[in-house]
């Protein structure tokens, strides 16, 4: 192999079709592409006149990165981006973190930083396993301060999301095979440094550490680097390494700038188990400790791991419902049971129709769906009829199945809250609630039986990530649909003239977590303006919003606000709240702009019309 790698590229590649077709073929690929394939695919993708999402990216670097250009172009186009890339001058980091720099002029959505270990702390350029514990701690502190300092400066000037990387060590550990046993080893120090950097970056909004060591593990250290280029031009990566690195980095852009994936819909036959249950029978499907059943068992485990990232799982299968139900309920090696799926469609209807039904049931847009199926025919039908759904076709070789979702950019996440982890459990709780509704006479009785308690928090910085996430993802119960980044939410919380309120809701079935956000401007004056009011769709219908609004208005009144103005900004998705402000006691207000829906409420408010079924408590933390 020409470049000294031991990974075989695919021998032929079909660079035709729409971007979605190409992505379905290449999006989850495990084998790297050749430069020639990358170039011809880039040319093909460029020739399509499909709409692309603009991506403004900036690269700061202390080693040569310009040779990554063809990979940036390719991966961006593949993921549906029209890329504008600014590369800072070699070695310019701090200077770029100043107003008026090339970086600020380029107005990037994402800023990528490529650094080496020795840039963080000079002692990292020499052996470290012999350092004393104090010296090692000192090196760690210096390294964390170097990264944190730079990120904080960059946060001042701009890019909405910052991703910092460290060039992996190109050789084996200092102590060789004994590294794993040594009490003070260089890899141990580097692990501690990376961990400390991550904890520090958590305190800076939208600043992330991307661990290129994980890329080296994935493709192999010997495959990642081209030592000739490194020694002559200070560009470290081979063709294989370059595309892997850029692929990881563009995934951050996908996570930040494209519609967030929320639900992974899987097929059953030849996806969750080998064979077709309707033909091979319960005992005939391959699922268990022996090949190929073992591969499918592993894939089910990987899907369960996706739930840990906050994704919902849904099932969409062309089968008799009882055949699938039997496997889910009783097969000894079936890991994904009914409770793991947020929704299911097992019938003989066309898959596009089922996906639409699943979207309606889950109250999600189809653009948040990732569809996994072994059939090229089904995948094509979905791509044609529902182009906003990302389609992943499982590989022909079952051995590759457990890996097939590893490279899907839309399944990367850039934040993880407790709500994300608990999401599936929330859905099964909701199913339990729906079941109770039927057993109560009136809606008031039902709501009272839930014994709901709401906790309201004000300017709570520890919830910045979840609050920002809600402003970005909530479409239906959202009065003004203003999207805010973590950095913006944090600045609102620290602004004395603004108030950021949130509430979480619990009832006898469980805790829904943080589900509502209000942002009010002008709270130090007499007339305040309600900038944002939104609520997660999972708690719609329980009148929590009325209790929340009342609580926020009481707080505003206590601060001396006499009048609150509010608006409704109609979108295609939020008709559900078109009449919301009047329903909570606001009156229509005069406005010179006929397209504006303006409301006002004078404080203090009168008593509510009826009992509110929600007790409001102060947030404990």
């Amino acid at each position: 192999m020409a470049t000294g790698t031991n990974v075989d590229p695919p021998t032929q590649m079909d660079a035709t079709g729409s971007r979605a077709d190409v992505l379905a073929r290449l999006g989850s690929r495990r084998t790297p592409l050749t430069l020639s394939q990358i170039r011809s695919t880039t040319r093909h993708l460029r020739s399509l006149s499909e709409p692309m999402v603009p991506l403004r990216a900036a690269v700061l670097h202390t080693y040569t990165t310009q040779l990554l250009q063809p990979y940036w172009q390719f991966e961006s186009l593949l993921q549906g981006f029209d890329l504008h890339l600014y590369e800072a001058p070699y070695g310019a980091l701090r200077q770029e973190a100043e107003p008026g720099s090339g970086l600020t002029a380029s107005d990037p959505d994402l800023g990528y930083v490529f650094m080496r270990w020795e840039d963080l702390e000079p002692r990292l350029g020499l052996p470290v396993s012999g350092l004393s514990a104090t010296e090692a701690d000192d090196v760690l502190a210096g390294a964390v301060a170097a990264v944190g300092g730079l990120m904080r400066r960059l946060r001042q000037v701009g890019p909405a999301t910052l991703v910092v990387t460290l060039l992996p060590r190109m050789w084996r550990p200092e102590l060789g095979a004994f590294d794993s046993m040594a009490r003070h080893s260089d890899s141990d120090l580097r692990r501690r440094i990376k961990s400390a950097i991550a904890r520090d970056l958590e305190t800076i909004s939208s600043a992330l550490f991307c661990d290129l060591d994980e890329v080296a593990i994935d493709i192999g250290r010997t495959n990642m680097f081209d030592l000739r280029l490194w020694e002559t031009s200070r560009f470290p990566f081979s063709v294989v390494g370059s595309q892997a690195v850029v692929r990881h980095l563009v995934a951050y852009a996908v996570a930040q700038l494209q519609p967030k994936a929320k639900c992974v819909v899987v097929d059953a036959d030849n996806t969750l188990w080998g064979g077709v249950v309707g033909e091979d029978g319960f005992a005939g499907i391959a699922l268990g400790p022996e090949y190929p059943g073992s591969v499918y068992a592993t894939f089910q485990r990987r899907l369960l791991e996706l739930q840990q990232r906050g994704f919902l799982l849904a099932l969409c299968s062309k089968n008799n419902p009882q055949d699938v139900a039997e496997v889910l309920a009783t097969h000894p090696h079936q890991l994904l049971r009914e409770e793991h799926f947020a929704a299911m469609r097992v019938n003989w209807l066309p898959k596009p129709e089922n996906l639409q039904a699943l979207a309606r049931e889950l109250n999600l847009g189809l653009e948040s769906f990732v569809f996994v199926d072994d059939s090229a025919h089904e995948g094509l039908a979905v791509r044609q009829q529902l182009p906003q759904v990302t389609v992943v076709q499982t590989p022909a070789d079952p051995l590759q199945l457990p890996y097939c979702l590893d490279g899907v950019a839309r399944l990367e996440i850039t934040s993880l809250t407790t709500e994300d982890r608990d999401r599936t459990r929330m859905y099964s709780q909701e199913r339990a609630r729906q079941a109770t509704v039927k057993s109560h006479g009136s809606i008031d009785e039902y709501l009272a039986s839930l014994e709901m308690a709401m906790r309201v928090g004000i300017d709570s910085e520890q919830h910045v990530a979840r609050i920002a996430q809600l402003t970005q993802k909530t479409n239906q119960f959202n009065l003004t649909t203003r999207r805010y980044s973590e950095a913006q939410i944090l600045s609102f919380m620290r602004d004395p003239d603004r108030m950021v309120a949130h509430f979480s809701l619990a009832d006898i079935f469980g805790d829904s977590g943080l589900v509502g956000v209000a942002i009010v401007r002008g709270v130090t004056g007499e007339v305040a303006e309600w900038d944002t009011l939104l609520m997660s769709c999972r708690v719609i219908g329980r009148r929590a919003e009325a209790a929340f609004v009342r609580d926020v208005l009481q707080r505003l009144g206590a601060r001396g606000v006499k009048r609150v103005m509010a608006t409704y900004a109609p979108t295609t998705k939020n008709q559900i709240v078109s009449d919301f402000w009047p329903s909570v006691g606001f009156r229509q207000a005069e406005t010179s702009d006929p397209s504006e829906c303006l409301y006002a409420c004078d404080l203090p408010m009168g008593a509510p019309d009826g009992p509110l079924p929600v007790r409001v408590l102060e947030a404990s933390e």
Binding site: T3, G4, L67, P70, R228
Partner: protein, 92 residues
């Protein structure tokens, strides 16, 4: 070498030069008909120092060879590249 072998070498070199020009056209996005056996680095503005590295990697893929660190800077014309790639037909 007799006349027949000379002719064969010439044919192979000409085919190699064609393939080298194909790669150059592909890497730099220049029209193929502007390139020939006489093309050198100075003729193509996009063939700068970074472009050169891109070309080297593309040539390695196209010909399934690997260039040493010392050979890389010498690949600055079609003739030089042909010489290195069809190395087994030359004595040096």
């Amino acid at each position: 070498m007799d006349m027949e072998e000379n002719g064969m070498v010439g044919e192979i070199e000409s085919a190699t030069a064609d393939k080298v020009c194909d790669v150059i056209a592909d890497v730099f996005g220049v029209p193929r008909d502007k390139l020939g056996a006489a093309t050198m680095q100075e003729d193509i503005p996009e063939w700068d120092s970074l472009g050169h590295l891109n070309l080297v990697l593309a040539l390695e893929e196209a010909f399934n060879v690997s260039f040493s660190v010392t050979a890389m800077p010498d690949l600055v014309s079609v003739t030089a590249i042909v010489g290195k790639v069809s190395g087994k037909w030359r004595s040096s």
